[in-house]
Amino acid sequence: MSLLEITGLKVGFDTEDGEVQAVRDISLTLERGEILALCGESGCGKSVTAMSIPRLLPPDTTRLSGSIRLDGRELTELPERELRAIRGKDVSVVFQEPMTSLNPSFTVGFQIAEVLRRHENLSRSAARTRAIELLELVGIPAPARRVKEYPHQLSGGMRQRVMIAIAVACSPRVLIADEPTTALDVTIQAGVLDVFRDLRDRLGTAIILITHDLGVVADIADRAVVMYAGRAVEEAPVTELYARPRHPYTAGLMRALPSAAVTLEDGRRRLSEIPGLVPPPYADPEECAFHPRCPRAQDDCTTRRPALDTYGTGHLAACFHPLSAAAPATGGGS
């Protein structure tokens, strides 16, 4: 049994413009000690999928169905009170903006200790000692001094490390990191990614990493799920995904990177584009959601929706006319 099993998850939100279908249908698994990346363009449903696990979604407007099992225990049926015990203890979250998630009026030591006292019943002094250990774990120099400081006294990179320290304080089994390095400089990002790798290696924490940065995925993830319009369109171990993307969207994303620029005959440098826009999240037509933008689309793509098919071990893609394994990332007609 996998540590986490999400099956047929659908999440909608009631809004003035009608129901927003943020997650249309997604199934995924997370193994112990695994780093799983969720990627795709903004609005494709990465954050909503992940936040459905600890159910950090607006209770009044959210419609959620499907199954989320953590160690076999169904989370979607749990009342709020029981979920609260799970949040921060079994499943914890690191957000993109470290400043807005920390409370400016308390020292970082206090904020870490709070989590420990709430979930682990540690005494005040034991919690403080543990807080220093945790700051050390996430690579903050002079932790004994830093525990006494307030968030504004720390740099962005250090605040993000403090957020990670809080998130792992109770040794969660699942750590969700939502764009944890997007607001950081690259030289700082490298250090924060090392912290995640280290946590996985030393504590066996399973991590769901949400990112739109394919460089970050290449650096740290074991497996990746590519989402488009609220569904998984491709899923594979990372080396396999980059070497042999099958879905035209995945291949398109990889070729659109500035590092994949090609030089034309007249000397111009060119990036490969994905024309068009992501479909609006309201309707859910019975067709491939990518077809208006897809260079490989054919008639059948507009009449039915492709289901995920298997292409080798652990490699799934939802496409009627996938790229062949032999001609990786070339896109275009078949």
């Binding site: 700082i188 490298a190 080396t239 500035p258 060119r270 990036l271």
Partner: protein, 331 residues
């Protein structure tokens, strides 16, 4: 030699923070120049002073010291009034396509505004120029009546470009114009900028923290650290052989979108944090994080000079005619 379109000399900008005696030394002695039709990529981490340079060039903020010349003319101390006609020649594109366009105006009005302000076109001419410009940035006639909130991020950025280019300026300052966009949208905006630049021939100061973007677009780059340029030169040369330890760190930290290669690379994780621009380190400003620093680095400020190659000055004591430091080979 022809006169550069933009020449910045010994530029200093200190912001005085209210209630504190100290000043934020945002830019501290920067010189750079951009030739006709050239794209200079200004890179560096957050807070290094990139946007401040852009603002000084456009006189959106007053430089503390130093000079800014546009096509040979000193504009550093020109009055607002004397500056006005020159505003035709320099335009800016901002990072945030959401807040940089007036939400009450239609796309057509936004692009027509510079034409009207400078009185370069009237009546039907304005319509004609606007239509042409929108077409050039890939926006159809049906977009003219729309307002910013009805557009996607990429479309808004195209409107920003159209507005900046409609007067056919000599220089465009683009401050992180694609940073807020998704990769697929970013690709089409970058292709557009490259095409427009080539066809219209404007010079460009392109500010970004994304190295792969400058590698794609810039002819030359300048790398900033804490308010100063530490290395500058032709893009190809710097990417092939970065000489300043900070440039080396920056290039090695940006992850490559290729798992096999990325996992084999030696990454340098810099120790410590970026020091405060309120109180920058003595000597070489990078010495607190530089893995190869020597004693001199703490006391003597290295000059930005082309000891090895005139085309590419570097500010580091260890870059000499015979040696270049290598921080990626160390443990």
């Amino acid at each position: 030699m022809t006169t550069p379109v933009l020449e910045v000399k010994d530029l200093v900008k200190h912001y005085h923070v209210r209630g504190r005696g100290q000043a934020v030394r945002a830019v501290d002695g920067v010189s750079l120049s951009i030739g006709q039709g050239e794209v200079l990529g200004l890179v560096g981490e957050s807070g290094s002073g990139k946007s401040t340079i852009g603002k000084c060039v456009l006189r959106l903020t007053e430089p503390t010291a130093g000079s800014v010349h546009l096509s040979g003319r000193d504009i550093t101390h020109l009055s607002r009034r004397a500056l006005r006609p020159l505003r035709r020649d320099v335009h800016m594109v901002f990072q945030d396509p959401y807040s940089s366009l007036n939400p009450r105006f239609t796309v057509g009005q936004i692009v027509a505004e510079p034409l009207r302000r400078h009185g370069v076109a009237r009546g039907a001419q304005v319509d004609e120029r606007v239509r042409e410009m929108l077409e050039r940035v890939g926006l159809g006639a049906e977009m003219r009546g729309r307002r910013p909130h009805e557009l996607s991020g990429g479309q808004r950025q195209r409107v920003g470009l159209a507005r900046a280019l409609v007067l056919e300026p000599k220089l465009v300052v683009a401050d992180e114009p694609v940073s807020a966009l998704d990769v697929s949208v970013q690709a089409s905006v970058l292709n557009l900028v490259a095409d427009l630049q080539r066809d219209m021939g404007f010079s460009c100061l392109f500010i970004t923290h994304d190295l792969s973007v400058v590698e794609f677009l810039a002819d030359r780059i300048a790398v900033m650290y804490l308010g100063q340029i530490v290395e500058t030169g032709p893009t190809k040369k710097i990417f092939a052989e970065p000489q300043h330890p900070y440039t080396q760190a920056l290039l090695s930290a940006a992850p490559e979108p290729d798992p096999a290669r990325q996992r084999e690379r030696r990454r340098v994780v810099l120790a410590g944090e970026v020091p405060s621009p309120l109180d920058p380190p003595s000597g070489c400003r990078f010495h607190t994080r530089c893995p190869v620093a020597v004693d001199t680095c703490r006391t003597e400020e290295p000059a930005l000079i082309g000891v090895r190659d005139e085309e590419r000055p570097v500010a580091c004591h260890l870059v000499t005619a015979t040696e270049v430091p290598d921080i990626t080979g160390r443990d």
